[in-house]
Symmetry: C2
């Protein structure tokens, strides 16, 4: 049975249009299914307290548009809706989708949906992402939100809404709110040793977007058409630059990070590195290598992209300062964001551009006239949160918690895997994950699949190697994320993994 | 004088580090200026109720790092901070910047800031945007937020935060929340006649980002390296596609929209159009031309991009349905968003892809592994808002208000400009702006500048013409936005404009 519409006499649409729109919506949302009977004209008019004329007109409109049919003595009924609309109907009434909106059961969604609606030609992107209904979730980029300052954040958000909403609803600064950029500059100076002015900071909702703006900026600067990337490394850089026509040179790593001789031979003028906590191997780049990299860049007139996505989280000693701030005016593009230190949901990232790139960035703006992509409301809330020192406080709290998880994970892995052939832990003491390395005749992906079937989620690092190359020693590598999993599940989870793989 | 820090014994950082961090922050934020004196070790220890040891250690740390110097009998003082940091200090203490965070006085910011900080090498992007402190603001994309359902939106937002925050803080579906896409599909079917399933909808925070993903999708599909765009037209399309190496073919307009003969001769397989309300000329594309365009696309195996940014706002008759939904499975990429119908601040846009492009879109995802850019919290709030019919209600209310403003603007322009040589109004009855056309010997940009100086903001359409071409009849064209200005300012504003230009 359909819900009664709320008719609005101040609405610019006539009553019959409001009524027919409402009935269409009820059909789309599945409240009225095929062949279900609508109330009679007289009955509906009575229920709504209006004359029969607009009800009659609405029904005639719906018949004309093909939503409704009428049969003598069987009344007005819902017609099977046309194909394009039918998918929507399926979409809305399918219980899998309701689950999906709650973030559950992503992995199995595609198949089940594919069976339900034959018109679905591509899996939903969500199905390419990690499942979240496992017992032991060692996914490498899960946060722990148990200590998130929910009440405090909401206070700030509500204050922003109450006091500034009317103004903030409008378009903001395409480069990011100035107030937030002031806070980011101060934060980066204090926590990451980055040297920059707010003018050098570009705020954006997403890393690929910022990388895309950077690529366009480099293209406008001219002369640079290739980029060296770490192998193995994060896919974002090679993926984005390749799509703009750049040539990609994967450069291998040694124990200190990107191999300088190889980089030199690559003859590029742009290189992407992750010195705080190399992704995925996890080692920090020592100061000597950082300085040598900066020397290389200055010698060859090159730029460096410094990905510092989790630089705040170091569990032995203090965080290592950024490479960007090691000297004045380094040719370094610094990438950071608030997904790790706060939460992915707010969608706030940033990059710091060397001053000489700013005019080229301005040209890109004038070409495409992009808008700011990060919510102005979230930006302003974050600004107040940072201004009052809440972010620093939160990071210290989280560092504490993640350190406990990290220590327990290392200890559990040593306990359960320590005697295995080729056993090694790499890249511990920082970030959200560490690397477990083993000799094994099985394929890494098969091992991951076996683990998943038994409720343990870990990831293989195999897909992060360029051109399907593999580690020189042939070991299998797994990224063990420890930030998201509950503390008390760590040891049992590692034990379960060992017993699954032992079989 | 600096504020006393709140020391936290549960913090993982030692007290001396907390203290030195705090003092650094005070220096960055300008509370402690160069050469200002810090409290003595004994005094600060007393004020904080701690022993002198950590205070002494903090001061030594600050001296080592170059933030503080000490002189016999003159105590500890703040050192002139290094250049990179100095800019931040300037940034934070400059009153212009405080104004900027409130969205005021953007135009003059650059200069004044440029004078204050000589290191600023590029204007802030904000300075390239419209000023907002004019008396009569006819900017073409300003919304009216006086009827925004503030209380209702906050209710939904707070409910989402209260009930779902812990789960929503994590990464969401990179294609957009499924629940929101369900609502968008139903909304588009009902309000815009678009035929699609939620699987075809891609949500993103910003139009350039979505266009960029579309460009990459088309590149993966292969074979298409050029695009026809409307001339004059919105810069986003040619700007984005050109940056990916596409060739751009500007195609002129006739009274019904894009010129089909010219389009045919351009031999392209991709064309961008705005049939609901051509930007900037404003005319709607009649059904015959839409069908002819679809025929052209099918005949030549081409795709059409339909920009429908303000299609909901039509003030005579009902909104015209989209081109995408005129037939089944049209080769149309439909672009829409919530900036016009709701507010730009939430940063939620979307595109609808033809089904056969979905696998290529999936490939793009696997290449760069982009994240969702639109805030998951805003997405979920919007979903509930739409589900309960609030968006439809709001649009009807706004259409009513904008219609009144539109009618008054047309009437005022006729009154004050009706007798001018070459006078014409084009593109009325829809959207957020109309086009005022005049004969004039002055440059359009000069006229805009004169108006602005006297407090009236309008825009010239000159920059929207490709290759500096101009209208064939040589008229000067101005976009008069009527949505953002207060109702009672419309007539006086148009009168002021006429009197400024008459001189």
């Amino acid at each position: 049975m359909m819900q009664l519409p709320k008719l609005d006499e101040y609405d610019s649409a006539p009553v019959y249009v409001q009524l027919s729109d409402h009935i269409k919506q009820e059909i789309f949302c599945g409240a009225l299914v095929e062949h279900s009977r609508l109330p009679s004209v007289r009955k509906l008019a009575e229920l709504l307290g209006i004359s029969t004329t607009p009800v009659e007109a609405a029904y005639q409109q719906l018949i004309a548009e093909g939503y409704v049919y009428s049969q003598p003595r069987r009344g007005y009924r819902v017609r099977a809706v046309v194909e394009g609309y039918h998918d929507i109907l399926l979409g809305k009434s399918d219980t899998q989708i309701t689950e999906d909106t709650k973030g559950i059961n992503h992995a199995s969604m595609t198949n089940r949906q594919g069976q339900a609606a034959s018109t679905v030609v591509s899996p939903d992107l969500q199905s390419l992402r990690p499942v979240t209904n496992v017992t032991y979730d060692f996914h490498m980029s899960h946060n722990d939100f148990s200590l998130f300052p929910y009440a405090k954040w909401q206070q700030y958000a509500n204050r922003v809404w109450r006091e500034e909403a009317e103004e903030l609803l409008f378009y903001g600064n395409p480069q990011g709110e100035r107030g937030l950029r002031n806070e980011i500059a101060a934060y980066l100076a204090q926590f990451r040793g980055v040297r920059c002015t707010p003018e050098q900071i570009v705020v954006g909702a997403e890393q690929h977007l910022l990388m895309s703006l950077l690529t366009q900026t480099m293209l406008r600067k001219g002369g640079i058409r290739s980029i060296a990337v770490e192998n193995p490394g994060y896919r974002l850089l090679p993926g984005t630059f390749r799509n703009y026509g750049y040539e990609i040179s994967p450069v291998s790593l040694d124990n200190e990070g990107i191999n300088l001789d190889e980089l030199d031979r690559a003859s590029v003028s742009l290189a992407g590195v992750s010195p705080s906590h190399q992704f995925p191997m996890g080692m920090p780049m020592p100061i000597s290598r950082r300085l040598a990299l900066l020397d290389w860049a200055e010698r060859s007139g090159a730029y460096l992209i410094e990905d510092d996505y989790d630089g705040e989280f170091r569990y032995s000693g203090r965080p290592i300062s950024s490479m960007q701030g090691l000297r004045e005016n380094t040719p370094v593009i610094y990438m950071g964001g608030f997904s790790q230190v706060l939460a992915p949901a707010f969608c706030i990232h940033y990059m710091v551009l060397p001053k000489e790139l700013l005019p080229h960035f301005g040209e890109v703006y004038r070409t495409v006239l992009f808008e700011q992509s990060a919510s102005r409301l979230h930006q302003r809330t974050l600004e107040l949160f940072m201004r009052d020192g809440e972010l620093g406080k939160h990071i210290r709290k989280m560092r504490n918690l993640y350190k406990r998880k990290h220590d327990l994970t290392v200890q559990s892995i040593q306990q359960h895997f320590g005697a295995w052939p080729g056993f090694e832990i790499r890249g511990e003491h920082a970030g959200f994950h560490l690397m477990l390395r083993l000799n094994s005749k099985q394929m890494a992906n098969a091992m991951v699949a076996t683990a998943l079937k038994t409720g343990v989620q870990v990831a293989s690092a195999a897909y992060l190697w360029a051109n399907e190359s593999v580690p020189a020693d042939g070991k299998k590598e797994f990224m063990i994320g420890f930030a998201g999993i509950e503390l008390e599940k760590i040891e049992p989870g590692i034990a379960a993994l060992a017993s699954i793989w032992k079989v």
